[in-house]
């Protein structure tokens, strides 16, 4: 990544910002307009104050006669404050709307994309969705209105001052436009540094998450000192980077301070010297009211620019955050284009990710992704309940497409047939099952009951194929809620029946609240075996044509394993069944077996002596 963003990169970011701004709606317009009105009222306020002082000091008008002006002045300040308040309300409203829309669309992207994100630094992704997105709000609530003010108010103020004295107006007009130029120069450096810092922050967050995950291990191995040092070093690194950003960022504000001071001092000296008769020409003929008006306006001309500078880091933060979001999405293996789409801030309700990505998948023609193709074919064929799976000219890659996991010219799981899927750890059994379930991109043909999976109604596909994953999802709620995850309509009787078959019932019997026992997020509160039995129970609640089970008896002891396998086999009667397993006992239950070996799919005898199966370790 180059230190200074290219023109196209900046243009792309501007487009992104504009797209995001669109979801801000009317509130965003109010955010910009209201402070602008408050700014214009300032001219009247300054005139009123200057006139008031002139009357009192130069014309000796008694205080009683000036009371209305004084109160009017107070009223004017209050009105401006009220406008500011309304503007800020609108800004916050708009920003939260924009962020919520972006978050929802990012999250739906995470959920729907079939790329394996489980290996991505999950902490960093969470930080992108929560913290990086929050970085955007300063841009909309502060920087955007400030920019508009900076573009319009100095000019308006100069015009107002020009009515009084042309030279002062000229002084404003000449110094004010220089400021953005200087700031842009300084800003470029700051931007590169800020991005650097955003990366460091994200890395730091990843480092923390990583070390915290294993803090017990580190403690047991006596690594307290070295790891604390490492954390300190990472923090110091971040400090150095941040300080570099800030030094440059502050330089731009120093430039502004310089001009603002120059303006105030210049006006004071110019008008003052004019009064004293040192300057020939117009200045000498100014009234006190006019002179004071110029002086009062002097700091105000630069104020919008200073405001913009003060919020310049909001812009930088927002842009860094956008790049960081885009980068993380890309690093997660999501398609770069869909990543960009994802950060456009369209809400999930207005956007259909499948359909959107389908167009791209078709257009690029590179990946044939069944799960993505679904969108094209609403409510098309739905294969019968007694269907099998067939693949042809099938190739499966790792998500980064660096390594080919599996290539199979033709293979099928006949309707109602049962088989085991064997192979060394890391060889690609899980990936294969996920591809068969239509949840993972591959090249080639996949048909369910003769119907290409891509042409099926997605809801039908999900109904016909049940996949038991190695990492079950648990929602915070009761055991019953977690079982209904697989079948929302299931009766309590059905739940208990499924629990019985998976061996979960014995666990439930020991829990005082049974099905109502609370399950924490991530399955907290369940033992490894209980979690597995709960996930298994879900399988019994579905009614699929094809049953794909990934290590169904992991974490189970031999006796439970045997009982569960009996129940599963009974359940799978009349259905097609493929079981990825390391367990010999499980493989022995199944009439046939397939083995993934050296990138191919081979028939295997389940009870093949183990030593023969894979003596040497292949590069996995």
């Amino acid at each position: 990544m180059s230190a200074i963003p290219s023109a196209t990169e900046r243009a792309a970011r501007r487009v992104e910002m504009r797209r995001l701004a669109r979801s801000g709606g009317f509130a965003l317009k109010a955010t910009i307009l209201l402070p602008l009105m408050a700014g214009l009222l300032l001219v009247i306020q300054a005139r009123l104050l200057a006139g008031l002082l002139d009357q009192a000091i130069a014309q000796d008008i008694p205080p009683a006669a000036l009371l209305t002006s004084v109160l009017g002045l107070g009223g004017l300040i209050l009105t401006r404050a009220a406008l500011g308040l309304a503007g800020e309300h609108a800004g916050v409203f708009a920003a939260e709307r924009i962020k919520a829309a972006l978050r929802a669309s990012l999250f739906s992207g995470l959920l729907r994309n079939d790329v394996r994100l489980s290996r991505q630094a999950s902490g960093a992704l969470a930080s992108v969705l929560v913290d990086q997105v929050d970085q955007l709000d300063g841009y909309f609530t502060r920087f955007l209105p400030a920019t508009i003010q900076a573009a319009m108010l100095p000019l308006a103020f100069a015009v107002a001052v020009a009515q009084v004295d042309l030279w002062v107006a000229l002084l404003f007009l000449l110094t004010a436009p220089l400021i953005p130029i200087f700031m842009a120069l300084v800003g470029w450096g700051a931007e590169a540094a800020a991005r650097d810092q955003a990366e460091a922050l994200s890395r730091l967050s990843g480092h923390f998450a990583d070390r915290l995950r294993g803090i017990l291990t580190l403690k047991l191995f006596g690594c307290e000192l070295s790891e604390t040092e490492a954390v300190k070093a990472a923090g110091e690194d971040l400090r150095r980077r941040t300080l570099r950003v800030l030094r440059i960022a502050f330089l731009s504000s120093a430039v502004l301070e310089f001009f603002a001071a120059l303006g105030v001092a210049g006006v004071a000296l110019y008008v003052g010297l004019g009064y004293l008769g040192y300057l020939p020409g117009h200045a000498g003929s100014l009234t006190l009211a006019e002179g004071l008006f110029c002086l009062l306006m002097a700091p105000e001309v630069y104020q919008p620019l200073r405001l913009m500078a003060a919020h310049y880091h909001d812009k930088k933060a927002a842009e860094s955050a956008l790049s960081e979001i885009a980068m993380r999405i890309k690093a997660s293996g999501l398609d770069a284009r869909s990543g960009e789409r994802m950060i456009t801030g369209e809400t999930s309700s207005t956007l259909h990710p499948e359909r959107m990505m389908t167009r791209e998948a078709v257009a690029t023609g590179v990946m044939d992704t069944p799960a993505l193709r679904e969108g094209l074919a609403d409510g098309r064929a739905c294969p019968r309940q007694d269907s099998g799976l067939e693949i042809a000219a099938f190739t499966l890659w790792t998500p980064d497409r660096r390594r080919r996991l599996l290539q199979a010219p033709a293979w099928s799981l006949k309707p109602g047939s049962h088989a085991a899927l064997l192979g060394e750890s890391g060889i690609g059994k899980t990936s294969f099952l996920q591809a068969l379930a239509g949840l993972r991109a591959f090249e080639g043909e996949l048909r369910l009951g003769g119907v290409p999976v891509g042409g099926m109604d997605p809801a039908c596909l999900r109904r016909r194929i049940t996949l038991l994953n190695q990492r079950p999802f648990f929602l915070p709620g009761s055991v019953a809620d977690n079982l209904r995850f697989a079948a929302p309509e299931a009766s309590e009787g059905a739940l208990l029946d499924a629990a019985e078959k998976s061996g979960l019932l014995a666990d439930l019997a020991r829990l005082p609240r049974g099905l109502d026992t609370a399950v924490g997020p991530g399955g907290h509160g369940l033992s490894g075996g209980q979690a597995q039995r709960l996930a298994l129970a879900r399988v019994f609640l579905t009614d699929p044509a094809v049953l794909l089970l990934d290590e169904p008896t992991a974490h189970l002891d031999a006796e439970t394993e045997r009982r569960v396998m009996d129940a599963l086999l009974a359940f799978a009667r009349g259905r097609s069944l493929l079981v990825a397993t390391h367990s010999q006992a499980v493989a022995a239950c199944l009439p046939r077996a397939w083995r993934i070996c050296e990138g191919g799919l081979w028939p295997s005898i389940a009870s093949l002596p183990l030593g023969l199966a894979a003596k040497t370790e292949t590069a996995a």
């Binding site: 070390r211 017990l216 941040t242 800030l246």
Partner: protein, 560 residues
């Protein structure tokens, strides 16, 4: 108050830098107020002067120029110094938190309702986000407050000299602006801020969950369920943040209203004084402008105060985390472990909760150097037994002893050095393969590392990687499969110099051939050390072990 307890000592460490930043801030403020005041006075005085030549021009004009320059330089210096100090502060805070957390591991697990950490996601979110929330608390919180007080003092002095009648009301308004409004803001923002921090943490957890279990959501066609849950939280979070921001906006409005009142007050009193010749015109203008400038200093307070609420909520959570008690109590005067390290459990019972018993009246003896295969149905307490042997938990009743020394008498660090554990969910750390292995034994040479990788049948894989031992493995072991990650962790544990090795399902997620090979090799790899392996592997693969223990479902010993 937690905020002070947490940050106080760290502030003292950086006192020099912080003071420098404060002083520079005061100079900036002084220069700004003086610049406007003197400009107004000068301009008016010049307009009132009839005899131009008699006016002392040099003094005011050079003052104006000098103050401008001073203001610019002081402002820049203040910002750099303040942020430098803050960042140094934060860096120290991070490692201080880490150190204190280390001392409390194993954390006592309690229900989430008490605010104690419950999950990894929660822990992670606390440390990183909460510490970041304390970011720039000094620069935008503390420093403006001091500046505001100084501005009040400055203006009060000038008013006392020039316009005593306005002194009391203006000071009252100013102090209301400096203390009253921010205080109200802090109090009002506290609730919403705490909620926002909590919701954000929940959201982080939700994202991690969706990432890690996304397959299951897609497989059961339940992505909409997760999406709905997320969007509900999303709206709640947005609502909370809106409420928080509105509180700040109202405070800003209140401050501007106070400015208006103070200005009106100075004007009314000043006009009165002017008409009775107690005050000259130029001084009145100077006073007015100075009043306006000092209120600008006050408005900076609000920007910081809006963050006080969030920072306080974060500090509270951090403090709660750092005060979570350790699950065990270390003996103040520990007894050294003897050279002979026989393991003995007498009548040990342990339950995670009254309705979740894990071990019941378990007694067993394992001699030093014995290799033991430990089996039993899931939930029979194999992992619990390991936790007790490391004294990560204390039994509810009964004693666990090493070489005849009750573990509660021993130094936990010595126990950790003596007993090594391969956890069921042992993590692969972000870093190189070598980093990961050296955690087990920092003094191991490359030869020893390769030898151990060979023993767990990983050497071919690692040798094929471009950077070999220096190959980077990610957070969840991104370039390694589950089985490879497992073996890497096994190698790390075997490298340890501990006398007792506890391996909890070392062959989980390995295929049978590898499982058989590794289980066969393990007794030899123990090299005379005590080895206890908890496993679900069939008995036929456990022939190489000296003894075979089987825990029953009730958490007792079965004869095997």
């Amino acid at each position: 108050m937690n905020l002070l307890v947490l940050l106080g000592p760290l502030y003292r460490q950086q006192a020099g830098r912080l003071m420098l930043a404060l002083m520079l801030g005061l100079v900036t403020l002084f220069a700004g107020v003086a610049l406007l005041g003197i400009s107004g006075w000068f301009l008016t005085a010049a307009a009132m002067t009839t005899a131009g030549l008699a006016f002392n021009l040099f003094g005011p004009s050079s003052l104006i120029r000098g103050l401008s320059l001073l203001r610019i330089l002081a402002r820049y210096g203040e910002k750099v110094a303040g942020h430098d100090a803050t960042l140094a502060l934060l860096s120290t805070l991070r490692s201080a938190v880490f150190t204190r957390l280390f001392a409390r591991i194993p954390l006592r697990q309690t229900a989430s309702a008490t605010g104690a950490p419950t999950s990894h996601a929660d822990l992670m979110s606390r440390l990183t986000a909460d510490i970041d929330q304390l970011d720039s608390l000094f620069v935008i919180g503390v420093s403006p407050l001091v500046n505001g007080a100084f501005a009040a003092l400055l203006l009060g002095t000038v008013l006392a000299l020039a316009l005593p009648t306005a002194l009391l009301p203006v000071l009252a308004l100013l102090s209301l602006g400096i203390f009253g409004v921010p205080l109200a803001l802090v109090l009002l923002a506290r609730g919403p801020a705490r909620q926002v921090v909590r919701h954000a943490a929940t959201m982080r957890g939700m994202v991690i969950e969706a990432v890690e279990s996304g397959d299951d959501l897609r497989a059961f066609d339940q992505t909409m369920l997760a999406q709905h849950r997320f969007e509900a939280l999303n709206l709640t979070l947005a609502k909370g943040r809106r409420r928080l921001a509105r509180t700040g906006a109202f405070a800003a409005f209140a401050l501007q209203a106070l400015t208006a009142a103070a200005l009106v007050c100075v004007l009314l009193n000043g006009l009165e004084a002017l008409s009775s010749d107690r005050l000259s015109g130029p001084v009145l203008v100077g006073l007015l402008l100075a009043t306006m400038a000092s209120f600008e200093a006050v408005s900076a307070i609000l920007r910081g105060v809006a963050r006080f609420g969030l920072a306080a909520a974060s500090a509270e959570r951090l403090a709660a985390l750092l005060e979570t008690p350790c699950a065990i109590e270390a003996e103040a005067h520990p007894v050294m472990l003897p050279p002979s390290l026989d393991i003995e459990l007498i009548d040990v019972s342990f339950a995670y909760a009254p309705d979740r018993p894990a071990l019941q009246a378990l007694s067993l003896k394992i001699a030093q150097g014995e290799t033991v295969a430990l089996t039993g149905p899931s939930g029979s307490g194999k992992s619990t037994l390991f936790q007790l042997l490391l004294r990560l938990r204390d039994p509810d009743s009964g004693t666990v002893s090493l070489g005849g020394i009750d573990l509660t008498w021993a130094d936990p660090e010595e126990i950790h050095a003596t007993v090594a554990l391969l956890e069921q969910d042992a993590p692969v750390f972000m870093g190189s393969i070598r980093d990961n292995l050296l955690i087990g034994n920092p003094h191991a040479g490359d030869g020893a590392l390769w030898e151990m990788l060979d023993a767990v049948q990983l050497s071919a894989t690692i040798a094929a990687l471009p950077d070999r031992l220096d190959a980077f493995v990610g957070e969840t072991g991104s370039t390694l499969s589950a089985g490879q990650a497992r073996r890497l962790c096994l190698a790390r544990t075997l490298l340890s110099r501990a006398e007792i090795l506890l391996l909890d399902e070392p062959t989980a997620s390995l295929d049978p051939a590898l499982e058989e090979a590794i289980l066969f090799a393990l007794p030899r790899l123990a090299r005379g050390r005590t080895l206890i392996v908890a496993t679900h592997a069939p008995t036929s693969r456990l022939q190489g072990f000296d003894r075979h223990l089987r825990l029953s479902a009730k958490g007792g010993l079965e004869s095997a």
